[in-house]
Each structure stands twice: as C-alpha cells, then as structure tokens.
C-alpha cells in the first residue's frame, strides 16, 4: 500500500513494476464507484485540460478517454487526424508542440507508428498517455483487462491465460503479455504460424509459451483473450481467407470445454462476429466484453487523475526508453527541450 505511481507519462506496461501496476489497478477500482453513482462526476481535475490526439481511427478508446476526463471534471478536447493540420503536412512533433503551447495538462496519443508517444514524451513537457502506438503497446487496454480479470477471478497471480489470434500485429497482446506475466500469470499464445512467431517466447523472461494449436493454449485456461483480426494491418497474406481463419482459429463453444470450468472470455473490441469469435460465445454468459468497456473508463480515470494533477516527480523523464520492436521514430535533436527547461 505504501507504493505510489510517480511517473510523468504512461507509455507502456513493459517498464512498469508489478507494484506500480497494482497501484494503478487499486486506484481504478475506486474510480469504478464514481460511474455507478447518479452524479457520475468528481471535481478532482477541475480546470485541467486533456487533449485526445488520435492519428488512427478509434471510437471506443477515444470516447472512453473523453468520458473519463469529463467524469473527473477536466475539459477534454478531441483532435482526430482527418480534421487536423496533419493533412496539411505538419509533423507529429510540430502538432504536439502547438498543442502544448495551449497548456494542456495531459496529452493522450494514438498513432500508427510504434514509439510515437515515446518521442513526444522526450520532446514535450506535458504528460503523455499512450493510447496505442502501432503494433507496440496499448497500456490502458492491458490495465482494463487486468482490472476485469481481477474483478471476476479475484487475482491474476497463478492464472492460466490464453491469448488467441493475430499476436504479431497486436499491441493489446504485447501490453497484456507484459502485465499478466509481471503479475504472476502464465500466458499461452496461439494463432496462425505467420501471426505468432516462435521468437515471441523471448519477449518476456518467463511465463510465456507459444503454442501451435489454439486447443493447446486453451487447455485448462482460466481466461481466454481473443484478438481482433486487424484487416487494416494485413498488408501481406498471413492466412488464406477469413473463412479459413474462422474454421481453424475462431473461438467456438467446443473449444471452451477444454478450458477451466469457470473460464471467462475477453475481447478488446470491436469484434468481427463469426470470424475470430462466434456470436454464441460473444453474447454468452462467459463473455466479459462489455465489462471490459465499463472498466476502461475506471482505468482511464485513474491514469488521468494520477498524471494530470501535475505533482509527479520530474526525474522519471530521463528514464524514457526508445520504442520496442519497431524501433525509434524520428531522430530530432533535443534542442527545444533545453531552451524550455
């Protein structure tokens, strides 16, 4: 209970300690109560401004961050790529610096390039929240999944968790693998060989296994997480057809007979019904898909509350690491920072 969360940014799960993750989840649990009240608003961030800067299409995550900010009494401003001057040729960094000149207390960024939020965190003064960067990380999704598992299972430590689908392109899978293994779960991933490379086993030190067949991943699982087939990232032919994917890797009721008796099924949404998950499961009693959405608001309230208050310690800035698998984005010099500091 004595640990706190003193970071300036939330860029990924990989760099967080198990204690920091637990602190975030504990804080989120309290915020869940606010959304259950008749007056779903607390004055904690009154007068603060949160900018949602989305370079990728998103309804759920953007709305979730917006509602979270508003329930904390912050002013939320949404900027999406189609309406921004990015279409006029402005760079990511120039866009962020212009926004920063308007004195926001937090900038929430989604970008198709891995490492984009890390880049902004190095170059800007405002706290940055990564709302998904390419195939790299999506920390608030992993936190809301962790909160949902804790709500229904009472713990994460010692659980067997299967993650099924397009692991290669999934930032949700990466963030979840980090979070769940740090908190003591065993994670098994499975999907088409082209989308689940064997090297994935090296992503974390222990607690992760790569399976060839989804039946092997689901065997005895307490939690089954299904990933969305990301049509927008399928530039090459990773599998022959959607139909074939559905037959071999879609989750059907018969699969769950292998799982633990009280297995729960999760999906980050939006779901492709009949492709990666059958409607029978998606709408069934084991499905927590809508609970995940509800918990998303609590998690984002906790993150915005802890970051946008403005009393985080500054030393953490120096420890921002370059992006993971996809490498750093851009190589701009740190000139402006020096002047501003």
């Amino acid at each position: 209970m004595s640990t706190t969360f003193n970071r300036k940014h939330l860029l990924g799960i990989r760099d967080l300690s198990a204690e920091e993750i637990t602190y975030l989840l504990d804080t989120a649990e309290t915020f869940r109560d606010v959304s259950r009240r008749e007056i779903k608003k607390v004055p904690a961030l009154r007068g603060r401004t949160v900018i949602n800067l989305f370079f990728e299409a998103s309804t759920r995550t953007r709305t979730s961050f917006e509602i979270a900010a508003k329930r904390l009494s912050a002013d939320a401003v949404n900027i999406s790529v189609s309406t921004s001057s990015v279409s006029k040729g402005e760079t990511l960094l120039d866009t962020a610096r212009n926004l920063e000149a308007m004195a926001p207390d937090c900038i929430v960024v989604r970008h198709s390039m891995a490492g984009a939020p890390h880049h902004l965190a190095r170059m800007c003064n405002a706290p940055i929240v990564n709302a998904g960067d390419g195939s790299h990380e999506h920390p608030t999704q992993a936190l809301l999944d962790g909160l949902t598992i804790r709500e229904y299972k009472g713990r994460i430590d010692g659980l067997n968790i299967a993650i099924i689908g397009d692991i290669l392109h999934s930032r949700v899978a990466r963030s979840n693998i980090h979070l769940l293994t740090k908190l003591g779960a065993t994670v098994r991933v499975a999907g088409p060989g082209t989308l689940v490379p064997a090297e994935f086993a090296e992503l974390v030190e222990h607690g992760l296994r790569v399976e060839q067949r989804i039946e092997d991943a689901i065997e005895g699982a307490d939690v089954v997480m299904i990933l969305r087939i990301q049509r927008e990232r399928q530039n090459a032919a990773f599998f022959p057809s959607m139909r074939e994917y559905s037959v071999h890797y879609g989750l059907h009721p018969s699969h769950l007979e292998r799982a633990s008796r009280d297995v729960i099924v999760m999906h980050p949404g939006p779901i492709n019904r009949g492709i990666e998950i059958s409607s029978e499961i998606a709408d069934g009693s084991r499905s927590l898909i809508l609970d995940q959405v509800t918990n998303g608001i609590a998690v984002r309230m906790a993150v915005l509350y802890l970051l946008a208050r403005g009393n985080h310690s500054a030393h953490e800035e120096a420890s921002v690491k370059p992006a993971g698998p996809a490498g750093p984005v851009g190589n701009a010099k740190r000139v402006r920072k020096g002047i501003r500091a």
Partner: protein, 188 residues
C-alpha cells in the same frame, strides 16, 4: 520526522466519555435515532462513527447506519499535497435522501475537509439536514471557511505550529489525543 509531544489532553477513557456525551447530544437534538445516518470521514472519522453508532444503539435500542467518505477527489489542494495516498472508496449504503446526516471527523481545523465532505455528500443525494461532530475542535480562529461543529468532544485552542495527534487503537498502538509540535529547526 519526529514530533515533540507537548501535552496529552485526552486518554482512552476520556475519549470514550466524550463519545458517550456526543451520542446523547445527537439523539436529543434529532429526537431519537430514527432518521439518523452517521458518516465518518476517512481515516479516523470512521472508527469514531462506528463507536458513536454503538453508543446510540445502547441509548435508543436502534443502531443508525454508518457510511464512509473519502474526500481525496474533492480536495482543493490537489497539486500541493506531497505524497499521494491511495484514493480509497466512499461507501454510503442505502439512501441518504431525507436523512439526518451527522458527519464525524477527529479534528476540526481549517474547515476545508468538511467543505470537501459536504460537496461530496450532496453528489450522493439530498439529506434533510447535515450536522457535524468532531472529537477535537482546534478553535474558531483557525477556520478558513464559515464552518462550525454542532457537537464538540473537546475544544482545544492551539497555535498554528502545533498539531493535534489523535490516536485510536484501530490505527495506532494506543488511545489518546496529544498536542505535538515540529522541532523548531523545521519552522521558517
């Protein structure tokens, strides 16, 4: 940081007698325990509210409901608080609508905690009446808002440099109330 204890103003039995008197004042003022609803402010207001409810049950034969307020999200000094305590849950079981609420805290000082508690309470409903009971009132001259207690365990005029330390066995090793002061090197 070590504090120097200047005076011990209440011990365990004295706290107990003060709570018994407050309980009896509360039921007298509210004509019984019928519409009463006690709300303890975290942290030390909570065990005080529970003890008060027990004493009211002894007097009236009925125990009023007890709720818990955590005022962290309603504070007005968010960016100046140093260490960040975990935000704890607020629990107000049942309905506070049309009840006679008695807010209970250990010490009344500037009044800002009570302001935050009132704001939060009203987000949960519209009580008929809200009253305030405190174990220790540090005196009106410290008040920064127009807030006074309806029931006071002990009035203790203090200097700003002094701190009232309330110890309850729920959180501390002993029971008692002491006036403590920072070592003088700390001041200024």
């Amino acid at each position: 940081m070590d504090f120097v204890e200047k005076a011990r103003i209440m011990d365990g039995p004295r706290i107990n007698r003060a709570l018994a008197r407050l309980a009896s004042e509360i039921v007298e003022e509210n004509h019984g325990a019928g519409d009463l609803y006690l709300v303890g402010i975290r942290r030390r207001g909570v065990p005080l509210a529970e003890r008060m409810a027990d004493k009211i049950a002894d007097l009236e034969g009925a125990r009023p409901p007890v709720g818990i307020l955590d005022i962290t999200l309603y504070r007005d000094d968010l960016s100046t608080v140093g260490a960040e305590p975990i935000v704890n849950r607020t629990e107000l079981p049942g309905d506070i609508e049309s009840r006679n609420i008695v807010l209970i805290d250990d010490v009344l000082y500037t009044g800002r905690t009570i302001r935050a508690a009132l704001d939060q309470l009203i987000d949960y409903g519209r009580p008929r009446r809200v009253q305030l009971a405190v174990l220790v009132d540090r005196g009106k001259e410290h008040r920064e808002l127009p807030i006074q207690a309806d029931y006071i365990g002990k009035l203790v005029p203090t200097k700003k440099s002094e701190i009232i330390k309330v110890m309850l066995q729920d959180f501390d090793e002993e029971e008692g109330v002491a006036i403590v002061e920072r070592p003088s090197a700390e001041t200024g």
